[in-house]
Symmetry: C2
Subunit: 527 residues, 2 copies
Amino acid sequence: MIQWKNLDTLPSFAKLQALKGHVDLAQVMAGESGAQRVAEYALPMGGGLTYNYAAKTVDTEVLSALKELAEEAQLSEKYGVLLNGEVINTGEKRLVLHQLTRGQQGEAVVADGVDKRAFYVAQQEKANAFARSVQSGEITNESGEPFTTVVQIGIGGSDLGPRAMYLALENWAKANGCLRMNARFISNVDPDDAAAVLKSTDLPHALFVLVSKSGTTLETLTNETFVRNALKDAGLDPARHMVAVTSETSPIAKSSDYLAAFFMDDYIGGRYSSTSCVGGVILSLAFGPEIFTRFLNGAAEADKLATNPDPLHNAAMLDALIGVYERNVENWPATAILPYSQALSRFPAHLQQLDMESNGKSVNRFGEPVGYVTGPVIFGEPGTNGQHSFYQLLHQGTNIIPLQFMGFRRNQAGMDAEIQGSTSQKKLCANVAAQIMAFACGKKDENPNKSFAGGRPSSIIIGDQLTPEALGALLAHYENKVMFQGFLWNLNSFDQEGVQLGKVLAKRVLAHDTDGALRAYSDLFGI
Amino acid sequence: MIQWKNLDTLPSFAKLQALKGHVDLAQVMAGESGAQRVAEYALPMGGGLTYNYAAKTVDTEVLSALKELAEEAQLSEKYGVLLNGEVINTGEKRLVLHQLTRGQQGEAVVADGVDKRAFYVAQQEKANAFARSVQSGEITNESGEPFTTVVQIGIGGSDLGPRAMYLALENWAKANGCLRMNARFISNVDPDDAAAVLKSTDLPHALFVLVSKSGTTLETLTNETFVRNALKDAGLDPARHMVAVTSETSPIAKSSDYLAAFFMDDYIGGRYSSTSCVGGVILSLAFGPEIFTRFLNGAAEADKLATNPDPLHNAAMLDALIGVYERNVENWPATAILPYSQALSRFPAHLQQLDMESNGKSVNRFGEPVGYVTGPVIFGEPGTNGQHSFYQLLHQGTNIIPLQFMGFRRNQAGMDAEIQGSTSQKKLCANVAAQIMAFACGKKDENPNKSFAGGRPSSIIIGDQLTPEALGALLAHYENKVMFQGFLWNLNSFDQEGVQLGKVLAKRVLAHDTDGALRAYSDLFGI
């Protein structure tokens, strides 16, 4: 029997609070005991990745309390019922089925009269067939010429995840001879966004993917109009240049304005939709269906590992638990995402949405205010760039910010240069290893301005190379981490009512239905 | 007589602490009193921009305490001595002269036997002349063909600021017929960064700008080797394709490996260097010297406004004071930077460095630990994109995060689309106005999950259009804000000792001079 309880009602949470400041990180990471932690505190994540938490402020005692917390919070059971199709998104009364887009870890889920796994597979097969037809030259533009660029029009989850995934694999695909089409993205309602993309895109050979689950997202429809106007101005037929990704019930689902339509449904939240057709259409067009399938396989592998009820053998669950310890016991307000891979340049922005939109909430799943802090601020940039930027604060600032590093032994493009006795790739890896230790152990100096207190915890995700499988596993790891944290905080991680009020007020501004300060601000903008 | 005192020793700080929670933002922003605040709480920033702080938690009483604090902390006097060439960067024993690159607000500053204003002007004139020669076709590649792309090789301040500035004006320049060359950037030591840029760059017509003040930055020298190898492999002469921006004393200053060299010095910190040759060479090449001059003029205008000793007539000083009130009285841990302009997509990343590297410190300028928090976490993404991402947490999360909006009445590209009765530009502006009010006033709902508590403060910077002058003023505003906050916290905002330890340890890894956990991590990466 599942019980949805607030974090602060669980006995193990009190036990955990007594362990505040329990581990002296600088001490445990020093000497050979540190080396032993690096060897032992590691878990497989799928996709060839390993989650290493040696430099987190945990030891057997903290881990034991976290394991109790996982049991009391019924994390594994809750994931189980989610996989089996329970209405986990209670606010919107919806199932939560994004894991089904890449595999089936639980029982068959039938909703709206159909087997949902079969539905998602069928939609992706349709997308695959479409991608193959475009790539083979069967589907062409009005002059019979092939499409060479694919442009996604979407915002939020229809933009951030797919964009981050495309950028993560673009150079890998080039190096492996499977970059089929270049991809671009239009998202912001700022007309300068669409203008810049359109000016630098070869319109006659561009295929646009309009992504809106509801078919009513104002930014996306506005940008669609913008694009259609540009196509018409170029003497092209918009209906020959645009496909739709939407729900079957949306106003655009059956429109002849689109070359084809691919469907998702209300059980896939926007920020969890990269493995559905929202990511599947553009990524299959860009890289080919085989690569997208490999990406899905990596995600499915991570989903399966996340079903292990023991957090000491479940990387996503342990990552979630350590995060709650850092947030609710240590009271650290933010988490930095630091991939040592330029290909992951937009992955922190995707995680920012995934995490902050899922768990940035103040009421529990029953609408009751919670008496503890929930989701932290998530931010980050790739290393080594960040080292020359905000790392100063991370090392010597007055707040401790937990860190999540990522690194790969091999680069993607296979090009490198050797200077001063080492390659760029070795320098990159040496830097991330060095940073972990600098943060953990610090270093005393007689000049206090050059002293490092240490005690700043981090984890690292390590892989051989950022491949499609690794990327899929990385994506799913964080989706599952965020889900487990939502369970711990007793939140509904799958709605986003906090974005509504702004939309309502913006409509009022555009309708000139305002007074007071809202009218005054509108006047400043000449609206 | 200037006195450098810790924030918590100033009598007005105690007064300010008594004003915690003093203003009920939802209340003061409601009705006509809110409209009056929008009209009154506004200050010119230079470049045609206005700083509006109506939706901050201040009133006459808080403002009066902030004004006292400004006086007790001698903010204006300290800016004065900085402008006049005092050794403000005490740790490194250096003057702080970035304002001199764009104007002269104080007395003549003579250092190293030269008038520094004259020195910076001469270097920029040299860069201007060089840019004109490239643009006129006087300086060409080895085949006598013009250069069409300029690629900056640099990291940290030699990358983030110039890159953000280029992206901010790229579309404006296109629309105004003054985009002379496309610009690209290589920064990360990850070889995939350089590989991706080089693969998509027309090498025979590319001019590279190597930027390293010391001439020893490992990432930058590594990427230089990478680029030189690629040029040689393409049968090109690297010395015909590369210029240097460095200090006169650096090992690369007089090398014949470069077509030309432009100089900065130790008195311009990397994160403050966009208005020096670090930004000046690439931006003059990309947009023409006239546009770069307009950018400098905007910055100089903001610098001049910042000399006003009264914070109620000094936007940068007031912004700094309000930030300290939010950080040290209200204890809010982070600040979000939210430009409603796609052109400012990398401006938050620049501010992240500027702010967090300057003020993310735990000891004061005398090396004594401070007893209060200093620089906050800085993060952000352009609106309206962020609305569909992390705004959920900003509206309904358990922490209050102060917000800094930016918005412009007109777009840059001059293209737009009208749907549902309004243009994209109007929708963009309506959204930012709506968000300010949604955050400030919130909205009660009988469903607690749909309730918005409000009381979430923001400021907005408004301009007619993001022009070169506006961008210069925006850049200088934040540089001056960060400087004033450093004065308030009694920090040295101009060194960055916190980045050193990681460098030292990375060198040890590359030299295989490691043991314990550092060796274990290195082993995981196969180093």
